[in-house]
């Protein structure tokens, strides 16, 4: 049904395009399908849909698709106070909806994204409101500074809670926040010094009749104010979500271990989330005070905390538009019950019932309902509206100045040519990979692919080139300073290779395009420049990992006893041993997941024995996990994107306020991830949820994630466990391939065949004690090793030999 509607819509629009030649220039919608051939159109629509499905996970693309919908929403919000049915009472509810939306936004950030359940947000809202009162009355701060003071105190209180509750999570945190809210209500909000200004007189800004004139007692003025705040919060938080810090949030929610192994400072990031959430909640409290100019403790009790969480949950918990929708929903509910006196007394009952109903019928909340509905209308808007409106709008935009009267510039022409030859829309991945020269532009002197970014971002990027270049040069200098101190330059991973044609992996990358299987075959047939490193030259190479006499105890059990090893630059070192030999324990003490009782661990010559996980990652160590630790809320592409955390130089404010640097870093990060995806042939699964993928692919994704970090040292924890023989064989190829990219590898396995096949040097553990080391050939002949695996004592083996 949907497909037919789409086809018909496309048919009409295609007919319309004959009169608008400009459409032919537009890569996505035009492309010569204006002959009215329904079969071709249907095919085209199917292609577009598939393409969109492939790219729907890309936040940049997503934001573009919804841009029109956002314009409509914005228009509705702007004219709402002037509509005939908008009475004084309705306007009041609209303001309430804004307040709810703001509070729900705070909860979405903390609970939805970072997974830190909060049953205590009423406390932050309350402190925001009371401090706003104090700021206004006692400190003489006018709006908006009084509300800012409230927001800052909200952030402080939330950080305080975050700090004391940092070591717990999940339900324990829920209890802690519940108690916190309960205490705030019973103790904090009973304190005279805090609540004595619970009723304020807010001076209007400006003079009546003058401009600007903000009279806060006017509901209409307040309406625009609160919705502007909501809008700003949504914009900044969306921007945050789709960049480095937001991804770190989702990573922490998915797996704290994996997040830390990618260099994310879990503790600090959680605190940041608490602070951001507290800021928004405090601001909401301030706006509450500004709106009503009087507050009571009832508004901030424990019950309200639960209600606020209910709003966020009804909205879908991870979705910002959902939070706004839920705010409007609950405020509208109140208005309905206010209007119909006969049911007015049942408001509480019905709200509780609706919460239950929404939760049970639509666990994804209003956001899920909206998505289901949106999928049906998006086709229509894309195919029907766009060809008519698009060109007109686009002509007005400075960075899309293609005029139909002028000949199209060479670049566009070439793209169009490609599209026509292949019969595909220009934006298909296929076209770009086949003809890279058609899809690159000069940015900042370096060659970069240009697809993926929508024109509006492209325009911004090109305008911001000069300052970015200055900034980059500046940072380059900083980097050189740091390099001299032996710190790994992760940002290098984000820089395009200097001479791409000469790199061996480029050759492989071309071969990879055919097919996943063929690509792996290609590795086997392609003689990679990957000679075994002779053990005799070991001492000449720089050691990256040095483990010296490490002892790890768990209570009375000594899991690893006096273990020493060395991994030198460029090597593949295997660590094997039967199950329970202490392999993973040794591995974890290198990666920082346990602390040895004795001995030292050095990475890159630096003693890191007591370093936390994320700092070790910062030195340049990437790892995979025996039990796969991917981030279940993110798709494959975003999982890999999290790994650019260390390379991405943008900070919190850059992410939130969309500075040129952060855009540029985001762009580079995405390029890096696409590069690795192409390298490993993961294109087909790039936008699939990790929950749907088979185990073997997930292994590959985890290795890809480690590769994306750009760390020169990769530690693989039993990568072959759970793989069949063919997959193990491929994995061995992959390991050698990764080494050929210049990555040193430490491999932990119990599959002896695989390890002896790829390693340059091996260590063997048995029952927590190192029993042998040497080249694979030596290890294969070593009687102690044979005994450990076959269960005979070394003497028996020697005798039989």
């Amino acid at each position: 049904m949907t497909s037919r509607q789409g086809a018909v819509a496309e048919g009409t629009s295609a007919a319309g395009t004959e009169h608008v030649p400009l459409d032919a220039v537009d890569g996505v919608t035009g492309n010569g399908h204006n002959d009215g051939d329904l079969g071709r159109v249907e095919h085209y629509v199917a292609e577009l849909r598939a393409e969109r499905a492939r790219r729907s996970a890309d936040p940049v693309v997503k934001s573009r698709r919804y841009a029109r919908g956002q314009l409509v929403v914005l228009a509705v919000i702007l004219v709402f106070p002037w509509l005939p049915f908008t009475s004084f009472s309705v306007l009041g509810r609209a303001n309430l909806a804004g307040q709810y939306a703001l509070i729900a936004t705070a909860l979405v950030v903390l609970t939805g994204w970072v997974g830190q359940v909060s049953l205590g947000h009423a406390a932050f809202v309350g402190i925001g409101a009371y401090v706003t009162g104090i700021a206004n009355e006692a400190w003489g701060l006018d709006f908006p500074f009084n509300a800012f003071a409230g927001a800052v105190c909200g952030a402080l209180l939330a950080s305080l809670l975050g700090m004391v509750a940092l070591r717990v999570r999940g339900l324990y945190l829920a209890v802690a926040t519940l108690i916190f809210s309960w205490t705030a209500d019973a103790f904090l909000f009973q304190q005279e010094f805090l609540t004595k200004h619970s009723s304020i007189v807010l001076d209007p800004i400006g003079k009546p009749g003058g401009y600007p004139y903000l009279d806060f007692t006017s509901r209409r003025t307040y309406y625009y104010l609160i919705w502007a705040v909501v809008g700003a919060a949504i914009i900044f938080m969306t921007s945050l979500r789709d960049r480095k810090i937001g991804r770190a949030f989702f990573a922490i929610r998915g797996s704290e271990m994996a997040a830390a192994s990618l260099g994310i400072d879990v503790v600090r990031t959680k605190l940041v989330a608490f602070a951001i959430s507290g800021t928004i909640a405090g601001l909401a409290g301030g706006m509450l005070m500004v709106g009503a100019q009087v507050v009571t403790t009832d508004q901030f009790n424990t019950g309200q905390s639960l209600f606020f969480l209910a709003i966020a949950v009804v909205g879908g918990l991870t979705s910002l538009p959902g939070a706004v929708a839920a705010g409007v929903f609950f405020a509208a509910l109140e208005e309905v019950f206010f209007r119909v006196p006969s049911i007015g007394a049942y408001l509480q009952l019905v709200s509780a019932f609706l919460l239950a109903a929404v939760l049970l019928l639509y666990p994804g909340g209003l956001a899920a309902i909206g998505r289901a509905f949106g999928e049906r209308i998006v086709d229509f808007s894309d195919h029907h509206v766009r060809p008519r409106v698009g060109p007109v709008l686009r002509r007005l935009l400075p960075w899309r100045r293609s005029d139909p009267l002028e000949p199209p510039d060479p670049e566009t022409k070439e793209e169009r040519g490609v599209a026509e030859v292949t019969g595909r829309p220009r934006r298909s991945t296929r076209v770009d990979t086949e003809t890279p020269e058609a899809s690159v532009i000069e940015v900042g002197g370096a060659t970069r692919p240009r697809r993926q970014l929508p024109p509006i971002v492209e325009g911004l990027v090109s305008r911001l080139q000069a300052p970015i270049e200055r900034f980059r040069a500046n940072r380059m200098a900083q980097r050189q300073v740091r390099d001299s101190r032996q710190v790994i330059d992760f940002a290098a991973a984000l820089r395009p290779p200097e001479e791409p044609e000469e790199e061996p992996e480029q050759e492989v990358a071309v071969d990879l395009e055919a097919d996943d299987d063929e690509a792996l075959m290609a590795w086997e047939t392609l003689k990679l420049a990957d000679p075994d490193l002779p053990a005799s030259t070991r001492d000449d190479r720089r050691p990256l990992i040095e483990v010296d006499g490490v002892v790890v105890r768990f209570g009375g059990l000594t899991a690893v006893n006096d273990f020493s090893m060395k991994v030198c630059e460029g090597e593949i070192v295997g660590l094997i041993g039967p199950n329970g030999a202490g392999k993973t324990t040794s591995f974890n003490s290198i990666a920082g997941f346990n602390t040895p009782a004795e001995g030292t661990v050095k990475l890159y010559g630096l003693d890191v024995t007591n370093f936390p996980v994320h700092l070790r990652s910062r030195l340049g160590v990437a790892r995979t996990f025996q039990a796969i630790q991917l981030f279940p809320q993110l798709d494959v592409f975003d999982n890999l994107l999290v790994a650019t955390y260390l390379a991405d130089q943008s900070g919190l404010f850059g992410s939130m306020f969309l500075t040129g640097t952060s855009l540029f870093q985001e762009y580079e990060s995405r390029r890096r991830v696409r590069e690795v995806i192409e390298l490993l042939g993961l294109e087909d699964v790039a936008h699939r949820s990790v929950a749907d993928l088979p185990f073997g692919v997930l292994r590959m994704v985890e290795i890809a994630r480690a590769l994306v970090t750009g760390a020169p040292l990769m530690m693989l924890d039993e990568p072959a466990s759970g793989l069949d023989d063919t997959e193990t064989e491929r994995l061995a190829q992959l390991v050698r391939f990764i080494r050929s990219l210049g990555v040193t590898i430490l491999l932990i396995e119990h599959d002896v065949k695989m390890v002896t096949g790829v390693s340059d040097y091996m260590y063997v553990l048995d029952q927590g004690t190192p029993i042998a080391q040497g080249t694979p050939d030596e290890i294969k002949r070593n009687p102690a090793v044979i005994a450990a695996y076959l269960g005979e004592s070394p003497d028996d083996v020697e005798e039989s030999a």
Partner: protein, 295 residues
């Protein structure tokens, strides 16, 4: 002396928190859900008991019926607010209990008003003099019943196959199912048990003080702390936790730091909570409580 009296006076609170806490732990052990509706269930059952005594049913029979009613409530909460959300996430299940709590408070406010009620007790009226004050039989009753209930629960969970089935189900539903345990049945049984104990605590506490839709629902909050101190897992842990929480609450009005502070009990409770969090945090994590994407 004053302090000792306060401690003695806080024994009923200790008893109530322990019964609440045991119910919370039983439910948590069986389904890994924090039942925030626990206080709501207690409140609702206490009101049901109140109505039954109003209809002329003798208190002792109404008491038994009220506990049965509490068990039924526990089953319904699990069946309609928690089980449907199991595929979504743990958070969603906990929020489901928030919805149930809201519904209980709302319905109770509609049915019985928000004025609060006094309900008849099952223990004889009267009191024992201790020092300058008195402690009623109803209050002593709460403590005694708590001892009995915790002993019974302990034996049930530790030494019977049903208890084993419940604990096994919490750890791994699939594996428990393969061992012949019906995981849904085991979970339901735990919720019935938890609901019944909530009703017990609600009625006893209500008889010793009074009942009110919101107040009684929130009286379970310290019990969460008690359960937390016990690590959400061990029965003796809950008892120790209840002792700490109950006595701290009872002492707040006489302690030098907190006697003049409004909300002193809550402040002490918060301090205890965060101290427990700080000291236990690592062990909680190390115990493998947190799995990837469990929230």
């Amino acid at each position: 002396m004053e302090a000792i009296t306060s401690i003695l006076l806080s024994m009923p609170l200790v008893g109530a928190y322990a019964i609440f806490g045991l119910g919370i732990v039983v439910i948590y052990q069986a389904s890994r859900v924090l039942n925030l509706a626990h206080g709501g269930q207690a409140m609702f059952s206490a009101y049901a008991y109140f109505s039954m005594t109003n209809w002329g049913i003798p208190p002792i029979i109404a008491f038994v019926l009220g506990i049965a009613f509490g068990g039924a409530l526990g089953y319904l909460v699990e069946r309609f607010f928690v089980r449907p959300l199991r595929p979504v996430s743990q958070t969603a299940q906990t929020v489901g209990t928030v919805a149930a709590l809201g519904l209980f408070i709302a319905v109770a406010s509609r049915l019985w008003g928000t004025g609060g009620e006094r309900i008849p007790g099952i223990f004889p009226a009267g009191a024992i003099d201790i020092g300058s004050t008195q402690i009623s039989y109803a209050e002593i009753g709460v403590f005694v019943v708590m001892l009995g209930v915790s002993a019974a629960l302990f034996v049930f969970l530790k030494f019977t196959d049903y208890g084993l089935a419940m604990r096994g189900t919490a750890d791994n539903r699939t594996a428990a199912g393969l061992m012949g345990v019906d995981p849904d049945l085991a979970t339901s049984a735990a919720w019935v048990l938890g609901g019944a104990s909530a009703a017990l605590a609600g009625i006893l506490l209500g008889a010793a003080t009074s009942i009110h839709p919101t107040t009684l629902s929130l009286q379970a909050i310290p019990a969460f702390v008690a359960a937390l101190i016990g690590g959400m897992g061990s029965m003796p842990g809950v008892l120790v936790g209840s002792l700490i929480v109950g006595i701290a609450q009872g002492l707040a009005p006489v302690l030098p730091f907190t006697e003049d502070i409004e909300g002193g009990p809550q402040l002490i409770l918060a301090a205890i909570t965060f101290m427990v969090m700080g000291s236990r945090g690592e062990t909680i994590v190390a115990a493998g409580d947190v799995r990837a994407g469990s929230l």
